[in-house]
Amino acid sequence: MTDRYLDDLEAQSIYILREAFSQIKPLGMLWSVGKDSNALLWLAQKAFYGKVPFPVIQLDTDMELQEVYDFRDRMVKEWSLDLKIEKCPPEEEMDSTLSPATRAATRKTEGLRNLLRDSKYKGIILGIRRDEQSMRAKERVFSPRGLDGNWDFKNQPTEIWDQYKTECPDGCHIRIHPLLAWTEIDIWRYTKREQIPVVPLYFSQNGKRYRSLGEKNITFPIESMASNIDEIIAELEITKTSERSGRSMDHESEDSFEILRTGGYM
């Protein structure tokens, strides 16, 4: 009984995935190989009975931790995924006026832009959540993006009664966010209940663990003794530190994340 709210979240995410698959073509999903997009892949297998019916795309900066790459290759086999790797342009090509971490993060925005230009996806599924960051809290489940992939947050579509915006002009695309209503602790409870595999970096080693996975140059582990999912959940129940505290690009200035997001960042 305690996890019936997880059933509700699961049902809602499955509904969103099926809605996207039915209404938007071609469709792809971004896979960061982190816990959220893993849970999302699990949900996709539930929605489509064991086979993820669209490509999963990794925006690769060649800066992920080795464990992430190992895990990726293992899951691609285990889940028969259609993996596409999009190499992100080098940091030297990014806007040099940006502060260092934001500049590094922009590589993914550019990678995504290249991907959309070359592969013509009309829908991109992402595992972002409202509770990660206050900008993401304002997102729609189906969120249209303009010609440059930019987010017109002042003019978001009305979204009611599970009726979504699924049409957009040529050259534009729609971001689909099936995990928007989930929280960090929800993801861990679900990962435990469903026994979804995760990258071992989330578990404490020598008093440190990664709470959020990102590029090794701009992401740092936190102090933690949590070495399994139960301990992670127990830790999250009392923590007051933000999940993305180990992500440098969020904290360089008050509006650093807004600049990233309006430019098309995930």
Partner: protein, 663 residues
């Protein structure tokens, strides 16, 4: 006996649900939207609620302080949620946002919403997801325009759990008289729109009075603080005790099976149940509820709220938008209904406008037939027969859809009784359905009157056809306008007649001059048109005549019905040609008119054509010339009107009698 059992079961379901509701409080998230007039302090209230429940993440309080100082303000709580630079610079909430917090084991999702009129659609996007609402009213300003409009919309969205807070009591020296005056204003307005507020709480968001704790300034208030009121609210549950509705979201085909997926919107889906599909009126039985990973235990039922996939026992036609129900408790079918509507587009809604609408997973086009009432949410006055509905206004309108749509009145089933309207792919309005003054158009399966008894003929069909030497039949030509139905039918009729057969063509345009002169081209008129032709052709076939019909007859359901009228003599002949070819032929100039919009409901352009699934014969008029097509049909007919052995024996007798009479 049966009724009793059913009743008992219903009670059981209801009691179980009640119990679950109580248990759930501890485990479920309650989603609360904060609404009210601009600057009455919604975002501040949320900031305070989070701060006082110790729910703010580390650093966010400091961040808020820093951002406030930067703009020279005093502590701006709203910065916590108003994260956009534009929102902070103008101190205005633009878009709705959500934030989770837990207190006393109760999980909450707080939904903030903007108070400005121009962001009303964002307020609606937020409120539509909520289980309960807090209506914020400024003690200085009292009830304002947006207070009323927001309250009205809460009522329209079906939110019944509403708490009111009179905020900024610190600005009015915590004066009980001011509280009482505003509380009475709010209560009387809410009563007129069918909302009974749970509590009206005086608060000061800035000082934290009567929010989480009582504070020091409001001793005269006998009620409990706001958070206690919130603890009493229940998360809304999907309507499990209502009639089962399972709208088809998609159909997944694999080599082994066809899985029909969707969300159970109400009631319970069970394997082994006989079901009815709407609007096609097809029936089938549920074989399985699919799941992944498979697991050891088979799934045999799924309750409202679950997203599932099912398989059926037979390959009936199913597509997205169809609604599965139990046969005895189906949704209504109609192409005309009333909507209590809110309008969000800059472009006003006008009589005669056509919009794409969506009800659950079903999409179609609808024409605004009339605007019955424009409603002023400020004083609740209304204007009869308005010409248009402007942005952010509310009205009662009548819509006519081009397709028959399966629906329930909102009061019976909220999940299946609400629609949204789209303009250029964007939701531009929405509302709840009422069927007042309109009948369920689910076509009668049985005669209307019960006092009808069939009289037996003294003459049998066999004797009739025995004399003729061939059987009667209905040869039903179906295809797009311009596919060649009439041309072929007339030519086939002539050839058969010349060969000595009794034959007659029922043609679409001809029948509409007489028998069906009272019918138009709306779906229900088309259905009735085909129903009558089906019956007449059945009578002709029974009389031993070879009846050829030439009707577009675009709906499978209608053709199936015609087949049911002549179960042993019906032959479906698909006259096949692409839309492109038919449009190029355009012998009657109808496609041109339809493209210009001069003809509405035109099959292939603005109205669907459902290609026959298993026709008895397909004639391709795109590849073959007329002569070939005609001879194919003639050969098919001659092949299918041969007498049975029994009829042949009878034929011998008839001929004998004939000879005796002659001599």
């Amino acid at each position: 006996m049966k009724v009793k059992t059913a009743l008992k079961y219903y009670e059981l379901v209801v009691t179980c649900e009640d119990k679950i509701m109580k248990d759930r409080q501890l485990y479920e998230k309650l989603r609360i939207v904060i609404v009210g007039h601009v600057d009455h302090g919604k975002s501040t209230l949320i900031g305070r609620l989070l701060y006082d429940t110790n729910s703010l993440p580390d650093g966010s309080f400091e961040g808020m302080e820093k951002a406030s100082k930067k703009r020279g303000d005093v502590m701006e709580w709203s910065f916590l949620l108003d994260s956009f630079q534009a929102e902070r610079d103008q101190a205005v909430t633009i878009d709705t946002t959500q934030i989770n917090f837990t207190h006393n084991n109760h999980k909450y999702v707080i939904i903030d919403s903007p108070g400005h009129t121009e962001f009303l659609r964002n307020m609606i996007s937020g409120a539509a997801q909520a289980d309960a609402a807090i209506l914020v009213v400024d003690a200085d300003e009292g009830v304002q325009e947006q207070t009323k409009r927001h309250a009205y919309l809460l009522s329209m969205l079906g939110l019944r759990q509403v708490a009111v807070v009179i905020n900024k009591m610190d600005n009015v020296d915590y004066d009980i008289k001011i509280y009482e005056k505003i509380a009475s204003d709010v209560a009387s307005f809410l009563k007129s729109i069918n909302i009974r507020p749970t509590k009206i709480v005086p608060i000061s968001a800035r000082n934290g009075d009567m929010i989480v704790t009582r504070g020091d300034h409001l001793d005269w208030y006998e009620g409990r603080p706001l958070l206690d009121v919130l603890e009493g609210f229940d998360p809304s549950r999907p309507p499990i005790a209502r009639d089962m509705r399972f709208p088809v979201q998609d159909v997944y085909r694999s080599e082994e099976k066809r899985v029909i997926v969707g969300r159970v919107e109400s009631g319970i889906v069970r394997t082994g149940s006989k079901i009815l599909l709407s609007p096609t009126n097809e029936d089938a039985t549920i074989v399985s509820i699919e799941k992944w990973p498979k697991g050891k235990i088979e799934k045999v039922e799924a309750k409202a709220g679950e997203c599932i996939g099912i398989t059926l026992d037979k390959p009936v036609f199913v597509e997205r938008g169809h609604v599965i129900s139990l046969p005895k408790t189906p949704p209504m079918l109609s192409n005309v209904f009333r909507v209590h509507l809110f309008w969000l587009s800059k472009k006003p809604l006008k009589v005669g406008d056509v919009y794409k609408i969506s009800l659950s997973t079903f999409k179609c086009f609808a024409t605004v037939q009339s605007i019955d009432r424009g409603i002023d949410t400020n004083d609740l006055s209304f204007q009869e027969k308005a010409e248009q509905v402007g942005r952010n206004q509310v009205a009662e309108v009548t819509l006519r859809t081009h397709d028959m749509i399966a629906l329930d009145p909102y009061e019976n089933n909220y999940k299946m009784g609400r629609i949204v309207l789209y303009d250029a792919g964007e939701v531009c309005g929405g509302g709840t359905i009422s069927m007042e003054d309109y009948a369920d158009q689910r076509r009668l399966q049985k005669p209307k009157s019960e006092n009808i008894q069939k009289v037996d003929h003294l003459m049998s069909y066999s004797r009739r056809v025995a004399r003729n030497g061939y059987g009667g039949g209905v040869f039903w030509l179906t295809g797009l306008s311009g596919s060649g139905k009439s041309t072929l039918a007339m030519e086939v009729e002539r050839i058969l007649f010349d060969k000595g057969y009794q034959t007659y063509v029922l043609d679409g345009d001809n029948v509409r001059h007489g028998l069906n002169a009272d019918l138009g081209f709306s779906p229900e008129d088309r259905a009735e048109n085909i129903r009558r032709v089906g019956e007449v052709s059945s009578l002709m076939a029974s009389a031993g005549i070879i009846c050829i019909t030439a009707f577009i007859s675009p709906y499978r359901s209608d053709r199936n019905r015609a087949r049911e009228s002549s179960p042993n003599h019906f032959h479906e002949i698909a006259i096949s040609a692409s839309l492109h070819t038919c449009e190029e032929r355009d012998s009657k100039g109808l496609y041109k008119k339809a493209r210009k919009g001069e003809i509405t409901d035109f099959t292939g352009i603005s109205s669907p054509y459902e290609v026959p699934e298993n026709p008895d014969l397909t004639i391709n008029t795109e590849v073959n010339n007329i002569e070939t097509c005609v001879s194919q049909i003639v050969a098919y007919i001659e092949n299918n009107i041969k007498l049975t052995t029994e009829e042949l024996d009878l034929a011998g007798l008839e001929n004998l009698e004939e000879k005796i009479r002659v001599h």
